[in-house]
Symmetry: C2
Subunit: 375 residues, 2 copies
Amino acid sequence: MKFELLHTDGAARRGRIAFPRGVVETPAFMPVGTYGTVKAVDPGQLLASGSQIILGNTFHLMLRPGVEVIRAHGGLHEFMGWHGPLLTDSGGFQVWSLKSLRKLDEEGVEFRSPVDGDLVRLTPESSITVQHHLDADVVMVLDECTAYPIAEDDARTSMELSMRWAARSRERFDALKGVDSAAALFGIVQGGIYPSLRHASMAGLGEIGFDGYAVGGLAVGESESERLAVLEALEPAMPRERPRYLMGVGTPQDLIRAVARGMDIFDCVIPTRHARNGQLFTHNGKINIRNGRYRNDTSPVDPACSCSTCRGYSRAYIRHLQHCNEILGSTLATVHNLHYYHTLMAEMRDAIEKGRFDEFASRQAEHGKGADRRP
Amino acid sequence: MKFELLHTDGAARRGRIAFPRGVVETPAFMPVGTYGTVKAVDPGQLLASGSQIILGNTFHLMLRPGVEVIRAHGGLHEFMGWHGPLLTDSGGFQVWSLKSLRKLDEEGVEFRSPVDGDLVRLTPESSITVQHHLDADVVMVLDECTAYPIAEDDARTSMELSMRWAARSRERFDALKGVDSAAALFGIVQGGIYPSLRHASMAGLGEIGFDGYAVGGLAVGESESERLAVLEALEPAMPRERPRYLMGVGTPQDLIRAVARGMDIFDCVIPTRHARNGQLFTHNGKINIRNGRYRNDTSPVDPACSCSTCRGYSRAYIRHLQHCNEILGSTLATVHNLHYYHTLMAEMRDAIEKGRFDEFASRQAEHGKGADRRP
């Protein structure tokens, strides 16, 4: 993996990550492919929507179909037919979400599979090994996602555990991959909403040394101002020459604000999940396509959009499909929302190159106030 | 619409139906697009699977989204983005399936909408008018689907009602379309399992005169030998120079046996519905892709198949997707099953051209015995 920082505009960054499997122009959004598929679309539709890199969920894939099945196919790319870059998470976030089903200690975390009730153990070493077998282009360290709200002492204890796990993750990655590996390993900054802990986490990870740095433990219940304050405090301490990944974020406005604070790559289920629920993004804000006002509306979802959904189908048609629970209604909506997100990222890249990112961000804040309320 | 009979081999026919919107090589299979979408696939995938013409359900589309919505789009082709030929049924079969919700008299049939409980009236005239607004390339007369089993006298009464409705359908079609219409109107032969009634029905429809003749009232519970006996008795009475449509049939073996008895076009939900339930057709018979034996199977669904599903994905992947209720699992399976059906039709066309249809049919009967039982 090779990262180039091409332009900056304030803290906003325009970069490029080159993988053997393809190039990712940043800022970039990664659709989430939980079970070896980005829900409702195929790899051709992903490419056509502008996807450059997608995310696979180690936790889910470990449970179904199991890593051995994917390994038998030569990895996740071959299994799912996506031949571009793939980032896999460590599984830690999903284990953390299980809460009552888990038991955490120094060694790792043990949980009951929500699929079949089996006892499953995840350690830094086993997570890296699984991601190695999945043949991910970007591997994530196993961390503990710090809860919110949390006292500073507890946030420190949690961050320090994540740091020891990060070192063990690095060690296992290097042992499996060798120094010439084309795959990248990303560390994850934790520390809750406490700037000094975030700095300590960044410094500790920097000493171990990673190919990129993720910001974890956000979008877990904190307010937007708390989240932005963390990014603003942390950003100057993050190395310029490495990609920065803000995990699990967010809405279009969240992405713009995070890019303004120096973040490069993102993942979130919002565009795909919203699509299946009829929430579609447009240049005039989000609309609920199931609303009765679209019953007879022959215009495209977003007249300013060039995606195949907007070129081929009307609002009334997509509304009809979703009312009838037709699969194609999810597919067409997903294609559109992903195209919207990827277009937004491309517009941000362009604005940064032109030194007009602030202007772009203000204009977007104006436009994004929601078209549903308009006549 | 223009029909040419290109070859015959015994009773089997190789033909061509030319519509302004495209050519249909027969024997041909029509995927069913109930609610303005063939479930789980888009028009591009339909074309790639070999679909030449698809079927829309007037009954369902009348209720959702309503004919006015489709009319506002300029017709069903524009609404759903399918620009090839479209056949619409009359809605009669679905009303017949409602049983308890309907009331039938000379004028037409009244029923409670299963969507919202509204009282809806369907007459020969209103069915033709709706199909006209849908802009169907092939319009079907409204008929009463005769039940099975039924006494001969009752079958006659029902057939005679259908005949009067056929005349009224013809009249309304001509009034709406004029004599130069590019759209075709098909009559529907009824008469249960009684050869003399089938002959009387055919003769009566022939006197009215239609662009094509469908065989209705089959695949409603009768035995296969009864169904084939009807076709054998009826076929010599059907005009050679018109396409013949066997409604609602069937499995691959059903199609082969019906082509052997002079039928040209077919529709059925089997390939699409089976796909979503994990039943996939292969050159070695039908398999249940959800079976545990495919868990780790990296081979394609059917090694002899050239569809995009078989070129890009493994049995294990499709099994995994269907186990996780992933939408893509339905899409990939549907693409495959439709490709299988359309390939079967193409093979039949080829066999008829070569005068080897019997040989082809025997070979298929051997192969189609089910791969699930094999190791």
